[in-house]
């Protein structure tokens, strides 16, 4: 009934959806799985109208439709239950349910609260939630809010003619086991009212609930599996796909690290609410990769090493001593360099030129009594522009105007030229084209040869495996397994996925 035909979506530098075919029948539950970055979220956004497809068509019952925004999609019966809950916590449950659609209850210019409460109760009954609609939303449990959100989407039933399609984005990620079961039985019952698209990292849940499962990889649907034929193993293999190309990740350049010295030591470190009981050593020349799904604690560990996050227990030693205060200045002073995921926001200063960006973390080295030696800064920038083949007309170019790959090179040059030997890379190749990615891989090998230790959160699993000496797999903030990644003896994608989800 609802169909996507050959839908295509491109972003600058990324082909996010490649000729995706997708369909969902009346009362069906369809699962959607794939790695981070496989295109699941983009596909969902196209479905509920937040993005417009560049190519292909969307049809409902054979009629072509085009949504400019989520509101138009809603008018066609497509609703979204958000992972980051979209309820406004200081409003009441009923206000949330009818947010933006209060007009129906207005009498003489004021809202008839009794009528709204009655209507809200009707919606809440659909999701079997027995609460007072006048409750302030912040008083509800997470599971209850999820149901309110679902009830909110189900108001579409009264509002539009035709069938409903409801997207559930990671609905179980914060629920307890019993709550998940309740939600699932509810969703099954609700198939009499709507069809569901279910997106989750938890493979077993997707298998349990879905009638059919779409497997995505690199922006394309690589397989569609019916419920009865679905096997976790087979799906995981499809998700991670092709074999790793050794050349691509510069495996031949991977040298053994120096295990005698330790740059960073984590001794059962925990940060409340982020991760717990993590231990590892980082050695000169080592690439240590943290692998896990979004929210597994990878980023928080990086931030702890840099000094932006304060451990609640355990000890962190950087070059033999622990931080007295958690702040970035101390991290930088110890030789820690941080290449953040949000390159344009945290990596470079948009509005400052190449040399200003490169010396930002080490202005003291280019100043006498606070007065900058700008000539030396420019000389430094010229040297690194040449060394890393940064494409910029001159050192005066605003870094905001460089391409993503060149911005990343400027950020890496900033830390390397300042002598940082502990480099934290958070998705260093995100959004880069293939050539720029290979440049980054080369730089990682060079830094290792120079004796730097690298903690990496990779953009894909292949990247993690290809680049690293050591892999730590994390799940929900807890350590799962350690893999050795020497060339020729690297773990397979399947090994990792198995422990991640």
């Amino acid at each position: 009934m609802y169909q996507l035909n050959q839908v295509d979506k491109k972003f600058p530098g990324v082909h996010a959806l490649k000729a995706v075919d997708f369909e969902i029948g009346r009362g069906e539950i369809v699962g959607l799985v794939g790695e981070n970055g496989a295109g699941k979220s983009t596909l969902m956004k196209v479905i509920y109208g937040a993005y417009q497809a560049d190519g292909g068509s969307i049809t409902i019952d054979g009629k072509t439709v085009r949504f400019q925004n989520p509101r138009q999609a809603m008018d066609h019966g497509i609703g979204m239950v958000f992972q980051e809950q979209s309820l406004i916590t200081n409003l009441t449950v009923m206000e949330n349910i009818f947010l933006g659609f209060e007009q129906q209850f207005v009498r003489w210019g004021v809202i008839d609260w009794k009528a709204m409460a009655e209507a809200a109760r009707h919606q809440l009954r659909k999701v079997k939630l027995d609460i007072d609609p006048a409750t302030i939303t912040s008083k509800l449990s997470f599971a209850q809010r999820q149901l309110v959100e679902l009830a909110k989407v189900l108001t579409l039933e009264e509002r539009i003619d035709g069938d409903l399609v409801i997207l559930l984005d990671e609905p179980t990620s914060v629920l307890a086991k019993e709550e998940v079961e309740l939600l699932f039985s509810l969703v099954r019952e609700l198939t009499s009212r709507a069809s569901f698209i279910f997106v989750s990292h938890r493979m077993d849940e997707v298998l349990e609930l879905s009638d059919r499962i779409y497997v995505m990889k690199d922006g394309a649907v690589v397989d569609v599996v019916a419920h009865d034929d679905a096997k976790v193993d087979a799906i995981q293999h499809k998700m991670v796909g092709r074999d790793v190309d050794k050349e691509y990740y510069r495996e031949q350049k991977q040298q053994p690290y120096d295990s005698d010295k330790t740059l960073v030591r984590f001794d059962s470190v925990s940060v409340a609410g982020k991760y717990k009981d993590i231990s590892f050593d980082l050695h000169p020349g080592e690439v240590l990769c943290l692998v896990g799904t979004e929210g597994s604690g990878r980023e928080a560990i990086l931030r702890t090493v840099f000094g932006l996050e304060k451990p609640t227990s355990g000890t962190v030693e950087v070059k033999g001593s622990s931080f007295s205060r958690a702040n970035a200045q101390e991290g930088v002073a110890r030789g820690v360099g941080y290449v953040p995921r949000e390159r344009k926001v945290e990596g470079i200063v948009n509005g400052m030129n190449v040399y200003e960006n490169m010396t930002l973390s080490q202005m003291g080295n280019y100043a006498s009594k606070g007065i900058l030696r700008i000539g030396e800064e420019k000389a430094l920038a010229k040297k690194w522009i040449e060394r890393l083949a940064i494409k910029t007309p001159d050192v005066y170019k605003d870094c905001g105007g460089l391409s993503g790959g060149n911005q990343q090179k400027v950020v890496l040059a900033k830390w390397r030229s300042g002598g940082s030997d502990i480099i934290l890379l958070d998705h260093p190749t995100r959004g880069l084209d293939i050539g720029a990615k290979e440049d980054v891989y080369d730089m990682i090998r060079e830094m290792c040869d120079d004796g730097a230790g690298i903690v990496l959160v990779a953009d894909t699993l292949e990247e993690a495996i290809g680049l690293s000496h050591t892999i730590l797999v994390l799940k929900d903030g807890e350590f799962q397994k350690r893999f050795d990644g020497s060339p020729g003896d690297k773990p397979s994608l399947y090994d990792l996925v198995h422990h991640m989800i």
Binding site: F306, L308, A328, Q329, G331, V332, A333, Y338, P340, E342, V345, E346, G347, I348, V349, N350, G351, M352, E356, L360, S361, M363, G364, A367, G370, I371, L372, I374, K414
Partner: protein
């Protein structure tokens, strides 16, 4: 040439066009002595605008400047007899401390700078009222001339105020363009998160920026007080909006990171030309603030970097 590329030159173009326009209406506008005097008269405003530039450059604002200047006129008048020329140190120190406290409230207590400085402004105003006993005080003419007579006078036809303004501009420009502090200000204004992730002590930089704006406010107040030979808790009223307008029409947007003190020079000159044009055109004095209010809104709307403003409240 697109409007985006033209944007950095817009203040200069505006200034030239305005000067030509006013000159066309009133050719006597170009009389050199009168012109020099016109510019010399607005030196306190220029100094205040210079200080405001630092606050706005980092993406904040300092609404306390006018009240700090008011306080300083009173302090200078009251303590001149006692401390002589050293009263200047007290005044400048007071401005520095008030600014630094505003900065501390903003960075450590997470109070937006416009509220923090507004509140500090009222505290300063209250101090000025208390100290002056709510009266207009006047300086002892002899003591004034002995200590600060050098501020006003002419050397080779150049008013001393202009020399002072030039020196302060040079210092401010040097700070902004040639020092690590100035570079850090730019980084905080243009990309605060990147500055944090580069290990800069962003809080200290912000506190220093507000301390500087307070210091410049105090210098402006001191000059004003000497010029008018007295102090009063309302003496500098009306300057705040002009200082903000000067910074913004000069091309330093409220979102920070772009522009700087040279822009503020241009902006101040624009303000002067507009003001003198209004005098020639006999715009009623009560209307002038209204016109500057309108110019302020237009200047903000034109200069603000919307990509940095996700939500406006």
């Amino acid at each position: 040439m697109t409007i985006e590329k033209l944007k950095p030159y817009l203040p200069w173009i505006t200034l030239v066009v305005l000067v030509l326009l006013v000159g066309a209406i009133n050719p006597s506008f170009f009389n050199p002595t009168a012109l020099l005097q016109l510019v010399a008269d607005i030196v306190p405003l220029f100094i205040m605008a210079l200080g405001m530039t630092f606050a706005i450059y980092i993406g904040g604002i300092d609404l306390s400047m006018q009240q700090v200047a008011n306080l300083v006129t009173v302090v200078a008048t009251v303590y001149l007899a006692q401390f002589g020329v050293f009263v200047a140190l007290i005044c400048i120190g007071a401005g520095f401390v008030i600014g630094a406290v505003s900065g501390w409230i903003t960075t450590r207590q997470f109070v937006p700078s416009f509220v923090a400085t507004l509140a500090m402004g009222f505290i300063a105003l209250s101090g000025a009222r208390f100290l002056s006993g709510e009266r207009a005080l006047s300086m002892n003419a002899e003591a004034r001339d002995a200590s600060f007579g050098w501020m006003f006078g002419n050397t080779a036809g150049v008013p001393h105020e202009l020399v002072i303004a030039g020196v302060l501009l040079a210092i401010a420009w040097f700070l902004q363009s040639r020092t690590t502090f100035g570079r850090a200000l730019k980084a905080v204004g243009a990309g605060e998160l990147a500055a944090v992730a580069s290990g800069l002590n962003v809080d200290r930089i912000k506190i220093m920026a507000f301390a500087l704006s307070g210091t410049f406010a105090a210098i402006a107040g001191l000059m004003f007080s000497v010029k008018l030979s007295g102090g009063d808790a309302n003496l500098a009223n009306g300057f705040l909006i002009l200082a903000i307008v000067a910074v913004l029409v000069g091309g330093t947007p409220l979102t920070g990171g772009v522009g700087g003190v040279i822009n503020t020079l241009v902006g101040t000159l624009i303000v002067v030309v507009i003001r003198s044009a209004m005098v020639y055109l006999e715009v009623d004095a009560t209307m002038q603030q209204m016109i500057f209010g309108i110019i302020l809104i237009i200047a903000i709307a034109m200069t603000i970097d919307r990509s940095k403003m996700r939500i406006v409240k």
